[in-house]
């Protein structure tokens, strides 16, 4: 048997944490992981945040980021244990034998240098190619990655290409020095779904064409199923399961893997609309101060009491702006909003307190939505005190009831947000919204920042609370799996317009308009070969036109 390209044995990684005002604490990130990767194969590393995926990926270059230290084990690349090498020989390794693609291309490119210069830098520095050869190779890679105008795109600056294109340029950068191994660290996570599919296809083709091996790190099992040969599931620094893609997706053995595979399998019965909507948005047009561009164009949607309207669209489609208009943070330039039969004042400052109470909001980032200097008790207690004048024992009792309702229980009242996990934080935000006894809660991407399993828990909680409290949700998201799970009706937004609107069953059923079709077909499915099918399908369609 031939020696694998990358052989990892008993890899242990640790770090030192520095809590402010306290003594430094040593923490373990990865406790002893073994795996092999053969030349030309792709291994998917999957797990939730904190599982140690990226840390393992960087260890393949013998690198520990920001205070992270490789404390034990062996990492063999091309038959050498690179953990034993000194910095000088590691410089020959990094950028020549092993290269890296990071999550945010926008943050990784130097904005002051042209793309070509940065893409060819490593190859020239490592004496792999002359400048002319490297540039010819870069152009070839640009073409392979499906970038427009491959001859000239290298002359642009990073801000002159789109996010998806820049991510592909980064892939070209990693492939340019003809490495043996590329580490892809969540290369499509920051992209919109419609862009993600193109980048994914481009990466997959480039890997196949160059015969390079790859570590593909992601938290999205459906994505990794499209590009990998093998998958390794990680949880809190330990390997949970390792197997071929087919085995992991179709026949997972461990409970944790099973949970990951079956995530978003919530079944939600669609409710029929009532006669009088709780919120009616009519002909709303809005623009930001000092601009001459309408971010929202003539929006009409209804939300029915006790039901969920999902607003779906890419970033920049105006979803969050619609929430700002409804809450009164951005008065619309035209149109009106009716809430519970009364016309709402366009500006927040002039709305009566009852209107404010009955409409609550939950944010994407629970971290910034809670004052870090207030305890959970204060955070949830304030609306009780503010709207209902509850004090002392009565307030305490109600806070505890709310904590029970969000399934947190005892012992949380005196904690600070910094002492909660991501999912717990979001639950506290939900409790704060519920405390006001609202008729409508606006949920702005509430699950986007959470790991899939945690997000699942939050969605189930929201559905449950809807049944108990009969509250309506305006659910803003870019994630169609979430929409399928919880919506009663859906509005698809594109460039400030609602392009498709109606009950869920109708919106998600053909015939589709072009944009909805593109959006729906771009969501990765947990099915092997989905990527090829979709790309092939699109090719045939465009050939037919």
């Amino acid at each position: 048997m031939t020696e694998p390209l990358l052989k990892v044995r008993g890899l242990k990684i640790g770090a030192t944490a520095y809590p402010p005002g306290e003594k430094p604490v040593a923490i373990k990130i990865v406790h002893g992981v073994d795996f092999d990767l053969e030349a030309g194969k792709v291994l998917g590393l999957i797990g939730e945040s904190g599982a140690g995926k990226s840390t393992i990926g960087l260890a393949a270059m013998a690198y520990g980021r920001g205070g992270v230290e490789i404390t034990g084990g062996e990492v063999w690349v091309n038959g050498r244990d690179i953990l034993k090498e000194n910095l000088r020989s590691l410089r020959r390794l990094r950028g020549a034998e092993v290269t890296y693609v990071s999550q945010s291309a926008a943050a990784s490119f130097n904005p002051a240098k042209k793309i070509m210069e940065q893409v060819t830098e490593a190859a020239i520095f490592q004496n792999k190619f002359s400048k002319a050869e490297a540039e010819a190779r870069a152009v070839e890679l640009f073409a392979k990655l499906g970038l427009p105008d491959p001859e000239n795109i290298g002359n642009r600056y990073p801000h002159q290409v789109s996010g998806g294109q820049l991510q592909r340029c980064m892939t070209a950068l990693a492939l340019c020095p003809e490495p043996d191994l590329v580490v892809f660290d969540e290369p499509t996570t920051a992209l919109d779904v419609t862009t993600q599919i193109d980048v994914l296809a481009a990466i997959k083709e480039a890997i196949a064409a160059t015969g390079v091996a790859a570590l593909y790190i992601t938290h999205d099992l459906a994505v990794v199923a499209q590009v990998s040969d093998h998958i390794m599931v990680l949880q809190q620094g330990d390997m949970v399961e390792y197997g071929t893609v087919d085995q992991i997706i179709n026949n997972p053995k461990e409970d944790y893997t099973k949970a990951l595979v079956s995530v978003r399998s919530i079944n939600h019965e669609e409710k029929t609309p009532t006669d009088t909507p709780v919120l009616r948005v009519e002909n709303v047009t809005a623009r930001y101060k000092g601009t001459n561009f309408d971010v929202l164009k003539n929006i009409n949607v209804d939300i029915h009491s006790g039901q969920t309207l999902a607003i779906v669209g890419e970033s920049g489609s105006g979803k969050s702006t619609l929430a700002r208009v409804i809450t009164g943070l951005l008065p619309p330039s035209d149109g009106q909003i009716t809430f519970d039969g009364r016309v709402l004042s366009p500006d927040l400052a002039t709305r009566p307190i009852e209107d404010l109470r009955e409409m609550q909001m939950i944010y994407q980032m629970a971290d910034t939505a809670m004052n870090p200097r207030q305890t959970v008790g204060t955070i949830i207690g304030r609306p009780l005190e503010f709207y209902f004048g509850l004090k002392g024992k009565a307030k305490q009792k109600r806070i505890q009831e709310l904590l029970d309702e969000i399934e947190l229980g005892d012992g949380f009242q005196d904690r600070y947000p910094a002492e909660l996990s991501g999912g717990q934080k979001q639950r506290v935000c939900i409790a704060r919204a519920l405390a006001a006894k609202p008729k409508l809660i606006i949920c702005d991407e509430v699950t986007s920042a959470l790991d899939p399993l945690v997000a699942d828990g939050i969605l189930k909680l929201l559905l449950n609370l809807q049944k108990i409290e009969d509250v309506a949700y305006l659910f803003i998201t870019h994630d169609l799996a979430t929409v399928r799970a919880i919506a009663d009706s859906i509005a698809v937004m594109y460039q400030g317009k609602v392009v498709r609107y109606g009950p869920k069953s109708q919106v998600l059923a053909p015939p589709f308009d072009d944009y909805t079709d593109l959006l729906l077909s771009s969501v990765p499915e947990m099915k092997i070969g989905w990527l090829e099918e979709t790309i092939e399908h699109r090719r045939m369609e465009s050939a037919g036109n």
Partner: protein, 271 residues
């Protein structure tokens, strides 16, 4: 109190000594403040620990009473500048729009005039009494505090929790004191240590120039002024206030550092 770092201990010790001396000056000082007890510039002896000053007053007593005056003025001015500066800064940041513009440009205007010149001009027409000194220094320093408080608060007011408070219908008082202030405390505490020291230096400078604390009342700047001729004859009297200011400076900032460290913790300081 067990895990106070050694640097903070040192800081607390010296700061404590200075403040205690200031508070209990009449009981500690061996002689009266303006009492002439010996010859001019007597060297240190068991009778006069630091010697005597330019007209034969006990220097140790002058230093203790001078510390009282200087520390009192500096403390009062710092409290005034912080209260005023931070509340106005937060108010500007939370209100935004033209309120912010008017306040900020006014502060720019005041800051464009060097504060020492400004103070000298005001003091040359106003009576130089301690309350006037405190108000003048407090007002001048509050412009610096305003700048810092506004800059910090602008970053805080864009956070979602402040938006959530606005959406809840909270009044500006809650947003300033409950949402913004606790999160702006760390940089303000750090600044407070510095500003206090600047206040000490400022009042000493004014006294040295003859427009601060008026004789026969003692203060550290005044002691330097009264004894500066002595330096020509190798007499140390003018240097003691300098030592005092330096040690106070350092110890106050050691304490400020420690408080800063404690307030940065987001777990309510309970680890």
């Amino acid at each position: 109190m067990k895990n106070i770092p050694i640097s903070a201990m040192i800081g607390l010790f010296f700061t404590g000594i200075y403040f205690l001396m200031a508070i209990f000056a009449p009981w500690i000082a061996p002689y009266g403040m303006a009492e002439i007890v010996g010859d001019v510039w007597e060297p240190s002896s068991s009778e006069f620990l630091l010697g005597t000053d330019s007209i034969g007053r006990d220097l140790l007593s002058r230093m203790i009473y001078g510390g009282q005056t200087t520390i009192f003025i500096a403390t009062a001015a710092t409290i005034l500048s912080f209260t005023l500066g931070s509340i106005m800064g937060f108010f500007a940041a939370v209100s935004g729009g033209w309120v912010d513009q008017v306040l900020s440009r006014f502060v720019d205007l005041i800051m464009s005039i060097p504060s020492l010149i400004f103070a000298l001009v005001v003091l040359s027409v106003m009576p130089t009494t301690v309350p006037i000194l405190i108000i003048l220094m407090g007002l001048l320093d509050s412009t610096r505090v305003y700048r810092l408080a506004r800059a910090v608060a602008v970053d805080i007011t864009v956070m979602d929790y402040v938006e959530a408070a606005r959406l809840r219908g909270e009044k500006i008082g809650w947003i300033i004191f409950r949402e913004t202030l606790p999160n702006a405390l760390s940089p303000l505490v750090a600044e407070m240590g510095l500003r206090f020291i600047f206040a000490v230096l400022f009042v000493s400078t004014l006294s040295f120039l003859g427009l601060g604390v008026q004789p026969p009342q003692a203060d550290w700047g005044g002691i330097v002024k009264e004894n500066k001729e002595g330096i020509n004859y190798g007499i140390q009297a003018a240097l003691y206030p300098a030592y005092a200011i330096a040690t106070l400076c350092i110890s106050i900032n050691l304490v400020a550092d420690w408080i800063l460290n404690r307030t940065t913790s987001l777990k309510g300081g309970r680890g």
